[in-house]
């Protein structure tokens, strides 16, 4: 019986690992999801084999509700994926936290002898991680959703970091108290919970909206760690393993992002990034040359290699399908069109890939930064669509710039650069971009979708297609 459950968990673990392994290639990725589903089903099924399970009505209810809410949550537009992810991290944290609380209450009332120092430590860790993930992720989701009542720009006040850390320290102290005297100091437990919830909020407040993706990934690994802690509490290897997989994923993704932004964790978490620069952005504007859709269309028609650099703006404007049409028009004319994908273009790692894939652009055409930078000097035209920081040459030469050292796409090295954006406003980093005032650059002002529609009209008209 129990052995059976253990074996089911074993299979489940293996499936989880395969699930992530198959994500290394778009061809096998969907099989990966299948494996993941199977693994989760096995985990649930195995657990239900427990003789201890009796409250079937409660289980049914909660599970049913989960489906009712979960299915619609999966219909969100791709631009809202970051918010959704943040939101479900919040759910994950909540679940972990609640289970921790429940276990503690249970043992406190029904068998204090179970509250060993080891288990209590695990419980406290689980609860702190869980609840700070909960409120933290909610805040993150709010900032990403750009809710009115949650400030986008980092909110800072004197001694902020100090007081935050002090708060966390206090939570940990109380935690130690409960670990030391689980029964006598039981009253400290709610305090720990409350402090964790509060800390989650304060942790996010000073972080700029666009830094959220990094934060989300970090919260992702916290969620994983809390699952690990739960595993220690419940003496469950499956939880430990899956939690570890999750934790490492979040960790690695956030590291990748920080590298691609050439910033450190501390800078992301405590740097209040995108605040100072906000002022810098209000600098005077240099002379810029603009180009008409007609002109732009002609130039691209005659080009032999066109490199398209999509950015956050394309995501905001939902312009990926227009991009696809442009791609079709140009390839129809024998123009070689490639996409230059910066690892942190947009607001999530791999954001651009998903959007362009949605528009059914074959993924062989999505070239990674380092590879495309070799070809750019040969490119006749580079078309920047709502990208800014990821093509800002200042990152290469201007020590003073906040993004100095961040690897960028060398759009300025192409023979000609066309840039679609609505204004001369800065991007996420909030800094001027000399690319737009360069000699070889011509601006196409307007909403990305609108401008691209014009371009396509020009081409289809000119080319007599449709």
């Amino acid at each position: 019986m129990s052995g059976a459950i253990e074996l089911v968990y074993l299979v489940s673990t293996a499936l989880f690992i395969f699930s992530l392994q198959w994500m290394n290639d778009p061809k096998t990725a969907r099989r990966g999801v299948g494996a993941g589903v199977a693994a989760m089903a096995a985990a649930i099924g195995g657990t239900l084999l427990n003789p201890g399970i009796v409250n079937w009505h409660w289980l049914g209810l909660a599970i049913a509700l989960g489906f009712v809410v979960g299915v619609p949550l999966s219909w969100v537009p791709l631009t809202a994926v970051p918010q959704r992810t943040a939101l479900s991290h919040a759910f994950g944290g909540l679940a972990a936290g609640l289970v921790g609380v429940a276990k503690y209450r249970l043992w406190l009332t029904e068998g204090p002898e179970n509250l060993t120092a080891f288990r209590m430590t695990a419980i406290v860790a689980e609860v702190i991680l869980g609840f700070l993930t909960f409120t933290g992720s909610l805040m993150a989701a709010g900032k990403l959703q750009e809710l009115k009542w949650i400030p986008q720009r980092p909110v800072t006040y004197p001694l902020q970091n100090v007081s935050n850390l002090a708060l966390l320290g206090l939570a940990v102290l109380c935690g130690i108290g409960v670990v030391w005297r689980p029964v006598e100091y039981a009253w400290m437990f709610p305090v720990v919970v409350a402090l964790a919830l509060l800390f989650g909020v304060l942790l996010i407040i000073p972080i700029g909206g666009a830094d959220m993706p990094t934060v989300i990934s970090l919260l992702n690994s916290y969620a994983g760690l809390s699952a690990v802690a739960m595993g220690f509490v419940l003496d469950n290897k499956l939880l430990i393993t899956a939690g570890a997989l999750d934790g490492s994923s979040g960790l690695i993704l956030s590291i990748i992002m920080c590298r691609a932004m050439n910033r450190s964790f501390t800078n992301v978490l405590f740097g209040a990034f995108g605040q100072v620069q906000a002022r810098a952005a209000a600098g005077e504007q240099k002379a810029v040359k603009t180009e008409t859709p007609e002109g732009a269309a002609q130039v691209m028609e005659q080009a032999s290699l066109v490199v398209i650099v999509p950015g956050y703006g394309m995501a905001v404007a939902q312009a990926q399908h227009r991009v696809r049409e442009l791609y079709d028009q140009l390839t129809k004319r024998g123009v070689d069109v490639r996409f230059a994908i910066h690892p942190v273009a947009g607001r999530m790692p791999g954001h651009m890939n998903v959007l362009l894939a949605e528009a059914e652009i074959p993924y062989e055409k999505l070239v990674e930064m380092d590879d495309i930078n070799h070809d750019l000097p040969q490119a006749d035209v580079v078309l920047v669509i709502g990208a800014n920081d990821v093509v800002n040459p200042a990152a290469r030469h201007d020590e003073g710039s906040p993004i100095f050292g961040m690897p960028i796409i060398d759009a300025d090295k192409a023979r000609l650069c066309l840039a679609i954006k609505r204004s001369m406003n800065p991007g996420f980093a909030g800094i001027e971009n000399e690319l737009y005032t360069a000699d070889r650059t011509y601006m196409l002002f307007g909403d990305a979708k609108a401008v691209l529609t014009d371009l396509v009209k020009q081409l289809s008209g000119g080319g007599g297609a449709h």
Binding site: M1, S2, G3, I5, F16, I17, L20, M23, P26, A29, R30, G32, G36, V37, A43, T47, L48, N50, P51, G52, I53, W58, L61, A62, L65, F67, V69, G70, L73, S74, V81, G92, L94, A95, A96, L98, A102, R119, A227, V233, L234, D235, L238, G243, L245, D246, S248, S249, I252, L253, R324, P343, M348, G350, H351, N353, E360, P362, L366, E368
Partner: protein, 131 residues
């Protein structure tokens, strides 16, 4: 009638390695909980696997990866099931049920949206159809 009484027979059978219930009060010391070091050992191995597997995930798929791991982190469902399912005082059961609801939401939405995204990734085929 306490949990102890009701579960006793089942637990005698389930003893030794029933992870979820092993830590239930009724199980007590009898169930020989896995030693701390063993769990640490498992954690270490799992972390090695996690790091090596994730670093090899295609950059193309980092967004789907986020939502997939998001679904996987809902493994907390195991804990929620045990809490909710076992016969406990209402408060506990309620806490468990909320946790279970939250986890299920993540599982369902996480896997669905991951698959939805992955469906979009298509290799180049002669004259691939327009949207």
């Amino acid at each position: 009638m306490t949990l102890r009484r009701r579960l006793a027979p089942a637990l005698l059978a389930a003893a030794a390695s029933l992870p979820a219930l092993a830590s239930e009060p009724a199980a007590g010391p009898g169930a020989a909980p896995t030693p701390f070091t063993t769990m640490l050992y498992v954690l270490m191995l799992a972390t090695f696997i996690g790091l090596s597997v994730i670093t090899r995930v295609s950059r193309l798929l980092h967004t789907p990866l986020m939502s997939l791991t998001n679904a996987i982190s809902a493994i907390a469902v195991v804990g929620s099931l045990v809490i909710t399912g076992a016969d406990h005082p209402p408060l506990i059961t309620f806490l468990g049920a909320v946790a279970l609801f939250a986890s299920m939401t993540n599982i369902v939405s996480g896997f669905l949206i991951t698959d939805r995204m992955l469906k979009m990734f298509k290799a180049q085929k002669p004259g691939g159809g327009k949207p």
